[in-house]
């Protein structure tokens, strides 16, 4: 599997190697290796390194090239995204233990809203989809892709890869600036091969998009932990829209986040994706093609958005704009009159 890398590592100089595979630099950094001569091959350069020093780190100069080959092969493995035409959620049990008698099929290109009182189980439904539940979550639901049950290996290899998720978590914890965070995420997604220019471009796109969505502006060298709730959410939306090519998008209550939610949804629902939005917002709920009503932890009803409801959207949109204007005026110390 690593043979091509074995050959490259054997014959290329370190300079050529890190030029072609910039991610190799991380390998040397992580090993805490002393500076190696970039004009030599790895094996030659290691001859000059202190054996005793390597031994302390549990290394010999024979193992390092093989480890680097394994590292490069893992880091550059292309991320294959599985296309998904439909998902089906097979009902389990609600919180009262009653059977949830539904089979909800959602096709690619469909937006479904999930509504219901707080605590009714909206997030749980999204969580079941995220982990591709197979009767092993509290709801006992099962999730099926393209009409076929998943075997365990498939489930494991798909978990976290086919679903892009905006959860209710609104804070960052990592000690990184916005630029560093986006760059690391871009590199982790690009399987180590992306030329530097491409990474920069994605970072810029995400950054300017996040700033458009957020109320207050922030800069590339702001620490992510210092972003406001709205700014964090805007950054997560932009990141989700531009870094991820997952065919399923799950959005949990984006409305309380201080971002332009309609712009955010439009951005996230681009292309032929399967989108589920848990929401309390009438405008978002009715913009969807279908809505799922959750009660007591179970799917209580599934409604297609009716033509009348679609027709009412324009009017609801106006009301929504009016509320937004009032909110803005209030914030700027204006007097309000409707």
């Amino acid at each position: 599997m690593n043979t091509s890398f074995d050959l490259i590592i054997d014959s290329w100089t370190l300079e050529e190697l890190t030029e072609a595979y910039p991610v190799a630099r991380d390998f040397f950094l992580n090993l805490n290796l002393p500076p190696l001569n970039p004009g030599r091959t790895l094996a030659d350069a290691l001859l000059a390194a202190d054996d005793a020093w390597l031994a302390e780190f549990g290394l010999t100069c024979h193992e390092i090239p093989a480890q680097l080959a394994a590292f490069l092969s893992a880091m550059t493995a292309p991320e294959t995204i599985r296309e998904i035409a439909s998902i089906t959620i097979i009902g389990g049990r609600n919180k009262l233990g009653e059977p949830e008698d539904v089979e909800l099929r959602v096709e690619a290109g469909t937006v479904v809203s999930v509504v219901g009182p707080t605590g009714s189980g909206k997030s749980r439904l999204l969580g079941d989809i995220e982990c591709l539940a197979q009767g092993d979550t509290p709801t006992k639901r099962r999730v099926i892709l393209d009409g076929k049950a998943l075997c365990e290996d498939e489930r494991f290899s798909l978990e976290g890869k086919i679903v892009a998720q905006l959860s209710q978590n609104m804070n960052f914890v990592m000690d990184l600036t916005v630029a560093e965070f986006l760059e690391m995420h871009a590199r982790s997604r690009a399987a180590g091969q992306a030329p530097a220019g491409k990474t920069e471009q994605v970072v810029q796109t995400c950054f300017s998009c996040a700033n458009d969505l957020a109320g207050e502006k922030f800069s590339l060298d702001t620490k992510v932990t210092l972003l406001s709730g709205g700014q964090s959410r805007a950054l997560m939306v932009a990141d989700c829209a531009y870094m991820s090519s997952s065919p399923i998008v799950l959005i949990d209550e984006i409305e309380n986040a201080g971002v332009d939610r309609r712009a955010a949804i439009t951005l996230l629902a681009r292309k032929e994706k399967i989108v589920l939005i848990s929401t309390h917002d009438p405008l978002l709920a009715l913009s969807a093609d279908k809505r799922v009503i959750i009660k007591n932890g179970g799917i209580f009803k599934v409604l297609e958005t009716s033509p009348e409801e679609k027709a009412s959207l324009a009017e609801i949109g106006k009301m929504d704009d009016m509320i937004a204007r009032i909110r803005r005026d209030l914030r700027h110390g204006e007097r309000i009159k409707v």
Partner: protein
């Protein structure tokens, strides 16, 4: 009897992961907890009905203590008729790793612990077969991915699992993987995957005074700048 060595920095969620794992395994699982001075985990294992032995290394090097006692632990597990024996240790001194060739090694890391933590943890992460990332439910997917990438950079070969120690989400898949661990009935002649620290100096034997006069045995001096 199958065996797992579980290591990870303090408070990374090892005990919770092991308890959730034990639930999913649905087999007789027992734990040996290696600790330095105190341990608060015994009651948690007792409550869950998981047989547990606690070993305190006290004034001894925790790494050496682990190696000297782990074989006895295997004998205990066999006497108890366990299907699964799990050792839990708090990363010993971070330089070390309790992972043994032929025994499935798990490292538990907490994704709130900082983006550079995977690089700092050393062999117990680098040489693990499975890496379990905890507390992922608290952050966004983007942050989980960045953290997991940091883990893969240090250990490209491992399989990474996200496990929620509170709800148990993810433990099911971890249990599937852990069930593939090899059977072990003795550790005689197996090897540690990484050496334990080499030191036998005056401080190892109880010296507390500071100064050149008291420093004897194997030790290393730092070279400071002028």
């Amino acid at each position: 009897m199958k065996m797992l060595t579980v290591a990870g920095p303090p408070s990374s969620g090892k005990t919770s992961v092991i308890l959730r794992l034990a639930e999913c395994l649905e087999q007789r699982t027992g734990v040996i907890k290696f600790d330095c001075l105190t341990s608060f985990d015994k009651s948690r294992y007792d409550e869950a009905g998981v047989p547990v032995q606690i070993g305190f290394s006290g004034k001894f090097c925790p790494d050496h203590f682990f190696v000297n006692n782990v074989e006895g632990g295997v004998a205990w597990g066999l006497r108890r008729g366990l299907d699964f024996l799990v050792t839990e240790s708090a990363g010993l001194c971070n330089r070390c790793s309790p992972h043994i060739t032929g025994v499935t090694g798990i490292c538990v890391v907490d994704c709130l612990s900082g983006v550079h933590t995977p690089r700092k943890i050393g062999p117990m992460l680098k040489l693990a077969d499975i890496v379990v990332i905890t507390k992922g439910d608290i952050v966004s997917q983007a942050e989980r991915e960045v953290f997991a990438w940091g883990v893969r950079q240090v250990n490209a070969k491992s399989q990474v699992f996200f496990v929620n120690g509170v709800t148990g989400q993810g433990a099911f898949m971890l249990a599937k993987k852990a069930s593939a661990a090899r059977d072990v009935d003795s550790l005689s002649d197996t090897r540690l995957r990484f050496t334990v620290p080499a030191a036998a100096c005056s401080y190892c034997t109880g010296e507390t005074r500071i100064g050149e006069n008291y420093q004897m045995g194997m030790m290393r001096k730092m070279e400071y700048d002028l």
